[in-house]
């Protein structure tokens, strides 16, 4: 009973983190929007005013560069905002491809640092699943983090999605050399696996360094 209550508190804490993060990303997106409109306004003025052509081209090029950075920042914050909202509810219908794309965007920097390629092989028009969106991402992250830590440079981790009967499956495999002393079978820490199985309404199986997660299609 005590254990259960602590677990519920942890989940509430997760929702709290999500709410704070969602509010924060909202504010940032507002500021990005202001910067974008200000840059755009300068461009509008340059076009209207009779600025010498060589100068106006130079100014517009600088504005384009600012806009490019705004776009990149905005994309990251859009993913972060969605990620924060994954913690809104414990069970919900969601698209697995979108959820994975979002997670990839947020951990891409780590993969780049470790020179590991995160490859996607997503089935298009995949139906939504009904599960715990936050725990799903947590499970995938735990697995990817373990792989990225234990695989050597230039390895490839492939995440594949597809329909399996009345479920949607996510298969993660890797190609590359494991660092010395690493066990190919040791992947998801057992406590995370047990926790995820309790919350996900789906199944997890692991073999030969691959992992398969199946979640029920949303009715």
């Amino acid at each position: 009973m005590e254990h259960k209550s602590e677990e519920n508190l942890r989940l509430l804490q997760l929702e709290f983190v999500g709410k704070i993060l969602a509010g924060f990303t909202h504010d940032i997106k507002n500021y990005i929007a202001i910067i974008k409109e200000s840059a755009g306004l300068i461009e509008d003025i340059i076009k209207i005013e009779k600025t010498p052509k060589n100068k106006s081209e130079q100014y517009i090029e600088i504005i384009r560069s600012i806009e490019e950075q705004i776009q990149k920042t905005n994309d990251l914050f859009r993913y972060l905002n969605r990620f924060a909202h994954r913690m809104d509810t414990q069970l919900a219908a969601f698209n697995i491809n979108e959820s994975l794309e979002e997670l990839f965007a947020l951990i891409q920097r780590v993969a780049n640092q470790k020179k590991i390629t995160l490859a996607r092989d997503f089935q298009r028009d995949i139906p939504s699943v009904y599960s715990n969106p936050s725990i799903f991402q947590f499970l995938i992250f735990s697995f990817l983090e373990e792989r990225m830590t234990n695989l050597d440079k230039n390895s490839i981790i492939t995440v594949k999605t597809g329909i399996k009967g009345s479920s949607v499956g996510v298969n993660i495999s890797s190609e590359g050399v494991l660092r010395v002393g690493q066990d190919v079978q040791a992947m998801i820490p057992p406590e995370i696996r047990t926790f995820a199985l309790q919350k996900l309404t789906g199944d997890i199986s692991e073999s030969n360094g691959n992992i398969l997660i199946t979640l029920p299609v949303s009715r």
């Binding site: 909202h26 504010d27 997106k29 507002n30 990005i32 929007a33 202001i34 974008k36 409109e37 200000s38 755009g40 306004l41 509008d44 209207i48 705004i70 905005n74 859009r78 909202h85």
Partner: protein, 154 residues
């Protein structure tokens, strides 16, 4: 109809954003006003109705969704485009259900927003023309009467 005849009201609590966006839309030959919260927006409607309202959601005081609800009740001819930095898919569905014309996320491309405003205005014009045509043919009243009779029978 001249371009400047399209009246737009930008409603956003971020003053810098509302002002800059208004300036840019004015440069695109739209007649633009601004309001910095939901209450001010509704108050401005009493003096002059815009054709299109560009409305933020998360504002102190009256939430954008509440403003949209009020507009649907009291000013059904105004087209509302939601422009928010806080848009979840659930918000987009809710705005659609409440009769919002479109749902855009910040930061939006100015040309895209301008296109949506003109499209919203065009749809408003077409709706008005259809209502006039029905009214002139007397079919509008007949249609309402039939619906009323059907309701009474149930």
């Amino acid at each position: 109809m001249k371009k400047k005849d399209i009246k737009v009201l930008v409603v956003d609590d971020e003053v810098a954003f509302a002002n800059t966006l208004s300036q840019r839309l004015q440069m695109r030959e739209l007649k633009v006003g601004t309001a910095y919260n939901g209450e001010e927006a509704l108050s401005k409607l009493k003096d002059e109705e815009p054709d299109v309202m560009v409305l933020d959601l998360k504002m102190p005081g009256l939430h954008g969704m509440e403003v949209l609800r009020e507009i649907r009740k009291a000013y059904p001819d105004i087209q509302v485009i939601i422009l928010t930095g806080h848009g979840t898919d659930k918000d987009a569905e809710e705005a659609k259900r409440l009769g919002g014309f479109d749902f855009l996320r910040k930061p939006a491309d100015i040309d895209h927003l301008e296109h949506k405003i003109r499209k919203a205005f065009q749809e408003k014009l077409e709706r008005t023309m259809t209502a006039i045509a029905f009214a002139e043919a007397g079919e509008f009243d007949t249609a309402r009467k039939i619906i009323k009779e059907e309701d009474e029978e149930q």
